[in-house]
C-alpha cells in the first residue's frame, strides 16, 4: 500500500499528519504558522492559516515537478549574411512561440512564484520528430509558416530552432503562500475544500479547489495541475446567497451550505468545465464518491442513504450514533470525524462499498512526535508499539441509543439501510432533517439560522448550538471562527489544554489518506495485544519456536527407533474425478461434456506421479484421452468471456498449437483443479519452493504469472533444450509485465501501473495452503478498464442516431463490432473482478476524439479520426469502466510512483550488498533510476529522476551499464557515462531509428541490443564496441515480433505474434532465437515455445553458462573485450520470420 497521509489540526492550530505506514502524528515543524483548516489530496494539502491566507504544502516525491518553457528562434537567409536574425518586416518576431504570434524573447520568462527555481540555463533542442538534427537544432523551411525539415535545401530561406529551459517546483514539504483572491479588497478566507481528482485523468494532477470568503463569496482556483501545483488565478463563482461552508467530492459534485441553512449543489461540473455551470437548490452535504455525510448544529451526524450515480439526491437521512463537530470523507468514501466532547479523532469502521455508512466510530489515537519524546515510562511501552485504537464511541443520549438500535438492526441484516418507520431519525426523503423534531421535544422548531443568531452566539459561547436548527456547516467551532479568531477559542474547553493530555483536534482531512480495509493501523491492534503477553517482538515467536522444537522431539521420541515397524495404512492410488467440458479435437469444434480424472500414485522411488484421464463419447463409443502428469508443461487459465477455461499443454501439443482445452462449471472449481494439477505436476517433477534466481518469467494476456526453471542446456550450442519442453508453473498475483535479473531481483508492473517487487515467496492466488509459502504472500490488487463502443450512423433526417443499417454492427459493441456489448450486460472479466466505477466516456483513444468522445469514419469498420468531416457517415465512442481484482501473491508494492516499464541489470554481481542498477519509466513517461536495490533490499530505497525533454516509454539496462531508452515519439536514446558511481549517467545521445520505423521497445543484454518497432520488426544494433557503445546501424532480424528480451548471455527471446503449428495458429508465443553466439549474435532461426496468449517474457535471470560469467567491461579498456559482437555477415535467408510464415 502506498504511504498516504491523514492530516489534522489541533485546537492550537498546529498541523499534524499521520501516515498509513507511520507510527505517530508528525507535526509539520517547518512553519511558524498556525492553521485553522486543512484539506488534503493525495499529492498535496491546502490550508487556511491564521492570517486568512491560503497555503499549499506539496508532498516531496522522488519525481520532481518540472515544467518545460519553450520558445523559438527564427532566422531568414539573405545573400549578404547568410542566415541571420534580420527578418523581413512581414515576418514573425525573431523570438516567438511555435505559431509565431507571440513575442517571446528568452528574458521574458519569469518564474511564476517564489516556489519555483530554474533547473539550468536555456539550450537549443536538437531532437526533431524523433530524429537527431544537425548541430544547433535548426530546422529549415521555404518560408514561415511552413513545414520544417531537418535538412537544409537549396530553397530553404528560413530556419528556426527550439530553445528549452526547465523550471522546477522547489517549495515541497513546506507551506507556500498562495496569493489571495483580491489584492485590493482583503476578504479573508474561511473555508476551503479540494477534490475533483476523479473527474478526468488529464491533465495530470488536476484538482478543484474551492474557497469561501468571510463575506460568503465562493472562489474557484483555476489551472491546478501537476505542472502548476499552485494554480494560476482565482475566479469568483456567483452564489445565490452567502455561503458558510463548501465541500467538494473527488468526482463531479460540489455542495455548499448557505447562511440560511440551505444547501446548494453545483451543476454542470465535468471534464471540460471543472468549475461547473450553475447552482441548484438541494437538500443535502460532506461528500465522497458515493456518500453524503452531514453534521447538524447539535453535533448529530447524519448519513444520506440511497445516494448513487443514478439517484444523486439519495432517499433519506439516517442518524448515526455519536456526537461529532465535523466529519470529513477521505478516499474510498472512508469517513473521519472529530468528537464533540473531547475533540478526539474518530474513524468510521466497516465502511465498504456495500455498506457505505459503516458500522461504528472508532477512536484513533496515535502519539504525536512531540509527545513521544517526553512521555512517561508507563505509557511508552504502548506508544512504542505503534498506534492503537481505543473502544467504540457509546451513544450518550436516549436518542443516540435509538440510533444504535438501528445500527444493530442494520448490522444484523447485513445489507442496505432498513427504513424504520418508528425511527424518528430517518427523515422524509427530500427534506432536510430537523433534529428539533425528535431529540429535544421541549423545543419548538426555531427560525432558520441567521446572522442575528450568530451574534448571540458570539456573546454566549457555550449554548450556541442548542437552539440552532438547520445547517451551518460541519463545525460548531466554525461559528466562533467568524470573529477574527485565529485558532479556536480555548475558553470553550472545560479543562486547560496541556501538552501531555490527549490531543484535541480542530480539523481533520482524509483526502490524502487511501484507507482500505486492511489498514496497518488496525493491524497493529493485533500485534499490540499479542505483545502484551511478552515483552519484545523477538519473543512473540517463542511459542511458535517451541512448538516446532517439540514436534521435532516428538518425532524423534516416538518414531526414530521404530522405523522398521509396519505402517498401519498402506499408500494407494488416489483419484480425483469431476465433470468438465472439453473443446473437442475433431471438427466441428465445440464444447462437449466429459468426465475428468486425476489418478495420483507414488512411484517406485517414492516420487509422486499421476495420469490425467479425459473420458468422452465419440459416435456413441466411450473413449478416453490421457496425459502423464510429468509430461504436462503447463496448466494455464485462458481468457474466455463465457466459460471458466484452462488449457493443458504437453511438448507435443505445444508443437501442434493445440492444447487440451477444458472448461469447469464454476471459477472456484477451475481454481481447485488448477491448484491440484499444478501441485501434482510440480511433485512429479520434484519442483518446490520459490523460483530460482535464474528463473524465466512470463505473463499471459490474462495477467497470470508463470515461471520456468531453465535447464543448463537451454542455451547450449548447438543443441539446446527445445523450448516446448520447458515446464511453467504459476505464481500468484496479477501483473502486466515481470522483469528479473540473475541475482534474483524481480520486479513487476500491474495493469494499473503499480510497481511490485517479488518477495522471494511462491504460491498465493489460487495456490493456498500447501502450494504456497506462508510468509512473503501479500494482498495484491489490480485495476483495469473494460471497454465497449457506442456506434452511430448518420441519416439526413435526424443526424447521428443509434439506428444503424440492417447490415451494421450492434449499436453497442466490442471493438470489433462483432459482439453486442451493452452497458448493463457487460460483465467483469471474471467474478474475481468487481466494478469500481461507472461507465464513462473514454477520451484517451489514440486516434483522438471530439469533445464528446466521438470518433468519425466513412463507414464501419474503418480507420477513425477525432474530428468530423463531410465524408463521415458513422461515428463511435469508447466507454470505459474500471474493475478491480484482489488476489494474493509473493509481491509487495513499491509505492508511490506508477510505472510503465522497468529494467534491471541482468548480469549483476553476486554479492548481496552490491547495488543492482534498476531503471524504470513512470506511467507519465519520466525516466527513473532506483537507488539502493540489492539482493537483500530488492525494493530499493528511492527514485532518482533522470531529466528528459519528452516522455519515454521503454528503457533497458545491459552489461557494462549500457542504458538504452525509447521516447514516446519513437526516438531512441543511449545514456552516456552510466556507472556504479554515477548511476544516473550524464547525458542522452540521440540514436537514429531504423529507416521509416518507430521503435517501441528495447532490450539490452550483456553486449547485444535488440529493439522492436511498431510494425513488429526486430532489430539488432550493429557494431557496438566498448569504445563506441552507440553502435553504427540497425540490422533487421525478423518480423512478427511483439516484444523482445535479451538475457545476460546475450540470448534473445521474444513474444512472436503469429506462430503456425500443425493443428492451429497461436498469437503471443514465447520463442527462442537459436544459433546465437559471439560471432553470430543475431542467431539463425526461431524455436517456438509456449503460446499463444503470452504478453511478456523475461529471460534476464538466466545466466546459467559458467564460462561466460566473467563479463567484459565496456568502459574499462584494460579488460579484453571478450564476446563483443563482430559485424557478422548473415546470409539473407537466415533472417527468418518469427511467424515461420
Amino acid at each position: 500500500m502506498p504511504v498516504s497521509l491523514l492530516w489534522a489540526v489541533d485546537v492550537r492550530g498546529r498541523v499534524y499528519r499521520l501516515s498509513t505506514g507511520g507510527q505517530q502524528w508528525e507535526q509539520c515543524h517547518d512553519t511558524k504558522l498556525e492553521f485553522k483548516r486543512v484539506t488534503a489530496a493525495t499529492q498535496c494539502c491546502w490550508g487556511i492559516a491564521c492570517d486568512h491566507n491560503i497555503y499549499l504544502n506539496v508532498h516531496a516525491s522522488d519525481l520532481s515537478i518540472r515544467y518545460q518553457e519553450e520558445t523559438y528562434e527564427n532566422q531568414r537567409w539573405n545573400p549578404v549574411d547568410g542566415f541571420s536574425e534580420r527578418l523581413l518586416p512581414s515576418d514573425r518576431w525573431q523570438w516567438s512561440d511555435v505559431a509565431g504570434l507571440v513575442h517571446q524573447p528568452l528574458d521574458s520568462f519569469d518564474l511564476p512564484s517564489s516556489g519555483w527555481e530554474w533547473e539550468a540555463d536555456w539550450y537549443a533542442d536538437e531532437n526533431f520528430e524523433a530524429e537527431p538534427t544537425e548541430k544547433g537544432g535548426w530546422t529549415y523551411a521555404m518560408d514561415f509558416p511552413a513545414t520544417y525539415t531537418k535538412d537544409k535545401k537549396w530553397n530553404s530561406c528560413v530556419r528556426r530552432r527550439r530553445w528549452l529551459r526547465y523550471r522546477r517546483y522547489k517549495a515541497r514539504d513546506s507551506w507556500a503562500k498562495i496569493p489571495s483572491a483580491q489584492s485590493a479588497l482583503p476578504d479573508p478566507v474561511s473555508d476551503i475544500s479540494c477534490g475533483g481528482w476523479e473527474i478526468s485523468e488529464e491533465p495530470r494532477g488536476r484538482l478543484s479547489l474551492w474557497a469561501v470568503s468571510l463575506q460568503g463569496k465562493v472562489w474557484y482556483r483555476e489551472g491546478i495541475q501537476h505542472h502548476n501545483p499552485e494554480g494560476s488565478s482565482w475566479t469568483e463563482v456567483p452564489v445565490p446567497g452567502e455561503v458558510v461552508q463548501i465541500s467538494c467530492g473527488p468526482g463531479e459534485l460540489v455542495w455548499a451550505v448557505l447562511w440560511e441553512g440551505q444547501l446548494v449543489v453545483r451543476e454542470g461540473i465535468g471534464r471540460d468545465c471543472p468549475s461547473g455551470g450553475s447552482w441548484i437548490g438541494g437538500h443535502w452535504v460532506v461528500v465522497g464518491v458515493n456518500v453524503v455525510w452531514a453534521v447538524t448544529k447539535d453535533n448529530k451526524v447524519w448519513f444520506r442513504r440511497g445516494v448513487n450515480s443514478h439517484n444523486p439526491c439519495g432517499t433519506g437521512w439516517i442518524g448515526m450514533v455519536g456526537e461529532m463537530i465535523m466529519v470529513n470523507v477521505g478516499l474510498n468514501d472512508q469517513v473521519w470525524a472529530l468528537g464533540s466532547a473531547e475533540r478526539g479523532l474518530y474513524q468510521r469502521q466497516g465502511v465498504t462499498a456495500s455498506e457505505l455508512s459503516g458500522k461504528a466510530w472508532r477512536a484513533l489515537s496515535a502519539p504525536r512526535d512531540s509527545e513521544r519524546s517526553h512521555s512517561s515510562a508507563s505509557t511508552s511501552s504502548l506508544h512504542s508499539a505503534g498506534c492503537f485504537f481505543t473502544g467504540e464511541v457509546r451513544g450518550q443520549s436516549a436518542a443516540s441509543d435509538a440510533d444504535s438500535d438501528i445500527e444493530r438492526e442494520r448490522a444484523a441484516s447485513g445489507g442496505s439501510p432498513v427504513p424504520a418507520t418508528s425511527d424518528a431519525h430517518v427523515g422524509d426523503p427530500g427534506h432536510a432533517p430537523d433534529p428539533e423534531e425528535d431529540g429535544q421535544p421541549g423545543q419548538s422548531r426555531g427560525p432558520l439560522w441567521s446572522n442575528v443568531d450568530l451574534e448571540e452566539t458570539q456573546s454566549q459561547p457555550d449554548p450556541v448550538v442548542e437552539g440552532a436548527p438547520g445547517w451551518a456547516g460541519p463545525d460548531r467551532a466554525d461559528t466562533c471562527s467568524l470573529s477574527s479568531v485565529v485558532t479556536y477559542s480555548l475558553a470553550l474547553e472545560e479543562e486547560p489544554y496541556g501538552e501531555d493530555g490527549p490531543p484535541m483536534w480542530a480539523w481533520v482531512s482524509g483526502g490524502g489518506c487511501a484507507h482500505v480495509l486492511s489498514f496497518p493501523w488496525t493491524a497493529l491492534v493485533q500485534s499490540v495485544q499479542s505483545m502484551s503477553l511478552s515483552i519484545s517482538p523477538g519473543q512473540t515467536a517463542a511459542w511458535h519456536q517451541q512448538i516446532l522444537e517439540q514436534l521435532g522431539q516428538r518425532s524423534k521420541r516416538e518414531m526414530e527407533n521404530f522405523k522398521h515397524y509396519e505402517q498401519a495404512v498402506e499408500q494407494s492410488v488416489w483419484v480425483k474425478k469431476g465433470t468438465m467440458q472439453w473443446w473437442r479435437d475433431w471438427k466441428p469444434h465445440k464444447w462437449v461434456d466429459v468426465r475428468f480424472a486425476l489418478e495420483q500414485f507414488s512411484g517406485p522411488d517414492g516420487n509422486k506421479d499421476g495420469i490425467l484421464f479425459l473420458y468422452y463419447n465419440f459416435n456413441e463409443e466411450k473413449k478416453y484421452l490421457h496425459a502423464f502428469v510429468n509430461e504436462v508443461t503447463i496448466f494455464v487459465p485462458v481468457l474466455n468471456d463465457a466459460k471458466h477455461t484452462f488449457a493443458i499443454y504437453t511438448a507435443e501439443r505445444t508443437k501442434q498449437r493445440w492444447p487440451i482445452r477444458l472448461a469447469a462449471s464454476t471459477e472456484l472449481e477451475m481454481h481447485d483443479w488448477l491448484a491440484l494439477l499444478s501441485v501434482s505436476c510440480c511433485d512429479s517433477r520434484g519442483i518446490q519452493g520459490p523460483p530460482s534466481k535464474q528463473a524465466i518469467w512470463s505473463v499471459t494476456c490474462r495477467g497470470d504469472i508463470f515461471v520456468s526453471e531453465p535447464s543448463p542446456a537451454l542455451e547450449a550450442l548447438p543443441y539446446p533444450t527445445p523450448c516446448e519442453q520447458m515446464f511453467w508453473r504459476q505464481v500468484g498475483g496479477h501483473l502486466r509485465l515481470v522483469e528479473g535479473n540473475s541475482v534474483g531481483v524481480v520486479w513487476g508492473i500491474g495493469y494499473d501501473h503499480t510497481a511490485w517487487v517479488h518477495t522471494g515467496g511462491y504460491g498465493g492466488g489460487i495456490f493456498q495452503g500447501l502450494a504456497s509459502s506462508t510468509d512473503n504472500i501479500h494482498t495484491q490488487t489490480d485495476v483495469k478498464s473494460v471497454y465497449i463502443y457506442e456506434n452511430q450512423r448518420w441519416n439526413p433526417v435526424s443526424g447521428y442516431t443509434n439506428r444503424g443499417l440492417p447490415t451494421d454492427r450492434y449499436m453497442w459493441s466490442d471493438a470489433s463490432g462483432l459482439h453486442e456489448c451493452t452497458k448493463t450486460h457487460t460483465t467483469t472479466p471474471s467474478p474475481h473482478w468487481t466494478w469500481v466505477s461507472d461507465w464513462a466516456v473514454d477520451y484517451g483513444v489514440s486516434e483522438g476524439t471530439d469533445r464528446e468522445g466521438w470518433q468519425y469514419a466513412a463507414d464501419f469498420p474503418a480507420s477513425y479520426h477525432g474530428y468530423k468531416t463531410l465524408k463521415d457517415f458513422v461515428r463511435r465512442r469508447r466507454w470505459a469502466r474500471k474493475c478491480k481484482l484482489t488476489t494474493t501473491g509473493p509481491w509487495q508494492e513499491v509505492p508511490p510512483i506508477a510505472l510503465s516499464d522497468v529494467s534491471i541489470l541482468p548480469c549483476a554481481a553476486q554479492s548481496s550488498v552490491e547495488v543492482v542498477p534498476l531503471w524504470a519509466i513512470s506511467n507519465k513517461g519520466d525516466v527513473l533510476c532506483r537507488l539502493g536495490v540489492t539482493t537483500l533490499t530488492p525494493a530499493g530505497s528511492s527514485w532518482l529522476h533522470v531529466g528528459t525533454d519528452q516522455a519515454f516509454k521503454s528503457v533497458s539496462i545491459g552489461g557494462a551499464s549500457q542504458v538504452w531508452a525509447i521516447a514516446r515519439d519513437g526516438s531512441v536514446f543511449f545514456r552516456g557515462s552510466v556507472s556504479t558511481c554515477n548511476p544516473a549517467g550524464e547525458c542522452w545521445y540521440h540514436i537514429p531509428s531504423p529507416p521509416k520505423q518507430k521503435l517501441k521497445q528495447v532490450s539490452v543484454g550483456r553486449t547485444s541490443i535488440c529493439a522492436v518497432d511498431e510494425n513488429g520488426n526486430l532489430w539488432y544494433r550493429k557494431d557496438v564496441t566498448p569504445s563506441y557503445p552507440q553502435g553504427s546501424s540497425w540490422e533487421h532480424i525478423s518480423d512478427n515480433v511483439r516484444k523482445v528480451s535479451v538475457g545476460p548471455l546475450d540470448q534473445v527471446w521474444i513474444i512472436a505474434d503469429k506462430v503456425q503449428g500443425s493443428h492451429g495458429l497461436s498469437c503471443g508465443t514465447v520463442c527462442h532465437r537459436l544459433g546465437v553466439q559471439p560471432l553470430d549474435p543475431k542467431g539463425q532461426s526461431w524455436d517456438y515455445g509456449i503460446g499463444g496468449g503470452w504478453d511478456h517474457v523475461s529471460i534476464r535471470g538466466n545466466s546459467m553458462d559458467p564460462p561466460r560469467i566473467c563479463l567484459p567491461s565496456l568502459t574499462d579498456q584494460s579488460v579484453p573485450a571478450r564476446g563483443v559482437p563482430h559485424p557478422a555477415q548473415d546470409p539473407e535467408g537466415a533472417n527468418g520470420s518469427a511467424g515461420g510464415c
Binding site: 499479542s530 511459542w543 517451541q546 498401519a568
Partner: protein, 275 residues
C-alpha cells in the same frame, strides 16, 4: 525458516509405535506373536487395525470371536477418540512401544461404543467435523461442500493422504480476515482424574475487546488448576498432539494447526508424573 505447513505435516505424520498382544485368557489355539505397528496419531484405532485383527484371528477359535476391542493397563480404549489422544491420556510417560492388549470377548458395553464397520467411524468422524464447523462458521463451510468433498475428507483420513485431506480441509480452516478468527474454537479437554468424558464449551478466539485468546486463557476459564502459579511446582501437563505448547500460544493458531482431522483441538491434562 520453518513453514507452518511443516507443522501440519508433522502433526499428520505423527506415528505411535505400538505392540499389540492378545489377552492371555483368550489365547486358545496356539501362542500368538505380538504384532508391531506404527499407528497414525490422527486416526482411529478401529480404522487402522485390520492387520491386527487378521493377525490374531489365526490364534483364536472362530467360535470365540466377537467384536475386537482394545485395552491398555486395564482401561478399555475408546476407539472414537483419536489414537494420539488415547496415547497422551493413558500412556504418554511410559516406555515405547505402547503395549495394547487385544480382546475378542467380553466387550465392555458400559465403556465402549460398538464399531462393526468403517461406516460407523466415518459417521462419527463426519459428525465431529460438522460439529466443529458449526462452532467455527455456523456450519456454512461444511454445508457449502458437496457430498464428494465430504468423501474426500474421509478418504484422506482413511488412506492417510495428507494432500487429499488438506486440499479440502483448508477450506474449513479459513475465516474472513476482518473477523480475525473462527466464531468459536472447537476444543475438547480430557482429563484422567475425572469421570466426565471431556470439557467442551463455547470459547471465542478473541475477547470482546479484541484481545487474542491464548491457550492460557482457555485453561484459566475451563481448568484453572492446570495453570501453575508463580512459585508453585507444575502440577499438570497440558498436552496437544503429544507436545506441551506454551500457554501464550494463540488459540486460533493452535486450532488451525494442531487440531485433529475432526477439526477439534484435543487437549489432554495429566498430573505431572510423581517420580
Amino acid at each position: 525458516m520453518a513453514d507452518d505447513k511443516d507443522v501440519l505435516r508433522d502433526v499428520w505424520f505423527g506415528r505411535i509405535p505400538t505392540c499389540f498382544a492378545l489377552y492371555q485368557d483368550e489365547v486358545t489355539e496356539k501362542e500368538a506373536e505380538p504384532f508391531y505397528l506404527l499407528l497414525p496419531r490422527v486416526s482411529y484405532l478401529t480404522l487402522v487395525t485390520d492387520k491386527v485383527k487378521k493377525h490374531f484371528l489365526k490364534a483364536v477359535k472362530p467360535e470365540d470371536v466377537e467384536e475386537m476391542w482394545f485395552e491398555y493397563e486395564g482401561t478399555p480404549l475408546k476407539w472414537h477418540y483419536p489414537i494420539g489422544v488415547l496415547f497422551d491420556l493413558h500412556a504418554l510417560n511410559t516406555a515405547l512401544p505402547w503395549s495394547i492388549t487385544v480382546h475378542f470377548k467380553n466387550f465392555p458395553e458400559r465403556d465402549l461404543l460398538h464399531c462393526l464397520s468403517n461406516s460407523v467411524i466415518e459417521a462419527h468422524f463426519m459428525s465431529c467435523i460438522k460439529e466443529a464447523d458449526a462452532l467455527k462458521h455456523k456450519s456454512q463451510v461444511i454445508n457449502d461442500m458437496q457430498k464428494k468433498d465430504h468423501k474426500q475428507l474421509w478418504m484422506g483420513l482413511q488412506n492417510d493422504k495428507f494432500d487429499q485431506f488438506w486440499a479440502m480441509n483448508r477450506k474449513l480452516m479459513e475465516y474472513p480476515t476482518e473477523e480475525g478468527g473462527f466464531r468459536y474454537i472447537p476444543f475438547r479437554i480430557y482429563q484422567t482424574m475425572s469421570d466426565r468424558p471431556f470439557i467442551q464449551k463455547l470459547f471465542r478466539p478473541a475477547s470482546p475487546e479484541g484481545h487474542t485468546h491464548t491457550l492460557g486463557d482457555l485453561l484459566k476459564e475451563m481448568y484453572p488448576a492446570a495453570i501453575a502459579h508463580d512459585g508453585d511446582a507444575k502440577k499438570y501437563q497440558v498436552l496437544i498432539q503429544g507436545i506441551e505448547p506454551l500457554l501464550e500460544t494463540p488459540l486460533q493458531w493452535l486450532s488451525e494447526h494442531l487440531s485433529h482431522p475432526d477439526n477439534f483441538l484435543h487437549v489432554c491434562i495429566l498430573p505431572v508424573p510423581t517420580d
